[in-house]
Amino acid sequence: MKEIIVSSGFLAASFFAVALVSADQTDKEFEEMLESSLRSKGIVKAEEVLAQDEVQKQCSTSGVTSAEDMKAILDSQLATIVYPNDGKYLGDWKAGEKIAQSGKGRRFNDKPDTVNGGNCYACHQISKDELAYGTIGPSLYQYGKIRGNSEEMIKYTWAKIFNAQAFVPCSYMPRYGHKGILSEQQMKDLMALLFDPESPTNK
């Protein structure tokens, strides 16, 4: 009996070692494939893209991320959020509409001085006047009208645009503030697009 226990323990250990080696090998093989197949071009640097941050690593699985991992993502991402110093959250909705329309920025064919867009319409319905909207994200039409403009709602929405994963781990929405895609002023203008009663979003 004792022998059986020992040998099955040994078997389990050796099986585990094999599994570990093959996971390591797979990681290495994958990295080598990426490095040999992708090259820096223009403003996109291969080594920067391939060096995933912790959240990107956790969100790159086809399996379900554990509840603990989810919680860890929420906590770490909430800690990244920077609110505007001057306490002002709403800019100019007309400028916001232009930012929401623009898909420019951060592609290898974009110039270093290209002003990044938010490309919100790629995934969201927003203004009632823009019919060419995508559906990866929920409709934001009437956002301000429905949600109201309480301080909590304003701060939540700012934080959501700054880092969507502070609320939804592994969200498909880019982390616009955290990744430096949009400036503080651009985010204020988008906030106005969502909240200003004059904005076509709320008509």
Partner: protein
């Protein structure tokens, strides 16, 4: 319809369509679909891709390169010179190189080994543009056209095929870069669109079959036949990823993953698209 007439029509419609595609409003998009329909009728069920297929066939049988050989002895996996039905089984493992290759890697290999081209020559101009046609796109159109109507039937059996498939699957879920995008962001939900472009969901067998089975395609908006490699190259650009180097393993791995997802579907390309 003669080739000359077809070419003339093409030039005419490229003009009409470039006007439509400048505008991204709903009506312009609808018009574009309508224009493509009209255009199909005018060509009497013809597809401009046929021009590329014919050119590719000519290139296949033309003596070329330092060795002045045709590609008739090129083995695409079903034996030297067998083109019919070869594409629906690719990417696949080739024992002569001990490697999994997709069609485009295999064509590079054949042109180097059989015709004596350098790697640089065999990978020159993978994507054509006006006035600069691509031999590669033509050869791809010819070979893929010889599988039209057949069932997609890639095999993931050899150890190296299994590894390559795993790499492709892993990349599908790999999220990185400034926008945290991966293939999964745009191709894993039902009824999703980017603006007005419908996104195939590769988790859905029917959509995977229809989508994979429709490339290469004559793209009306570009006036060129584009291969799966070109489609993936452009998705990676939108994904804010670095540039995919033509003929490298990443694209083969993704193609194998997509092809396996599409297995059993009827291959219907070169097709015609927006």
């Amino acid at each position: 319809m003669t080739i000359m007439n077809m070419k003339r029509l093409l030039i005419f419609f490229a003009g009409v369509l470039s006007i439509c595609t400048l505008n991204s409003s709903v009506s312009a998009q609808d018009n574009t679909s309508e224009e493509i329909e009209k255009y199909r009728e005018l060509l009497a069920d013809g597809n401009p891709a046929e021009l590329w297929e014919l050119t590719g066939e000519e290139l296949w049988y033309r003596e070329a390169g330092p060795k002045n050989k045709t590609l008739e002895t090129c083995d695409l996996g079903k034996g030297p010179g067998v083109v019919e039905g070869a594409y629906v089984e690719m990417p696949r493992y080739f024992s002569d190189v001990d490697k999994v290759m997709d069609l485009e890697q295999r064509l590079i290999y054949c042109r180097m080994m059989i015709q004596g081209l350098s790697r640089e020559q065999a990978t020159e101009r993978p994507f054509g543009s006006a006035g600069n046609s691509s031999d590669i796109e033509a050869l791809v159109a010819y070979v893929t056209g010889q599988s039209r109507g057949m069932k997609i039937a890639v095999v993931v059996g050899h150890e190296k095929e299994k590894r390559m498939y795993e790499m492709g699957k892993r990349f599908f879920y790999f999220r990185a870069g400034s926008h945290d995008f991966g293939c999964v962001t745009c191709h894993s939900g039902e009824n999703k669109r980017i603006r007005l472009q419908e996104l195939p969901n590769f988790m859905n067998v029917e959509q995977a079959r229809k989508s994979y089975g429709s490339w290469p395609a004559y793209r009306v908006s570009q006036g060129e036949v584009r291969s799966m490699q070109h489609r993936l190259y452009d998705c990676l650009r939108q994904q804010r990823f670095p540039e995919a180097i033509y003929g490298t393993d990443l694209l083969t791995a993704i193609s194998l993953y997509l092809a396996k997802s599409a297995n059993g579907g009827t291959y219907d390309a070169p097709a015609m698209k927006r």
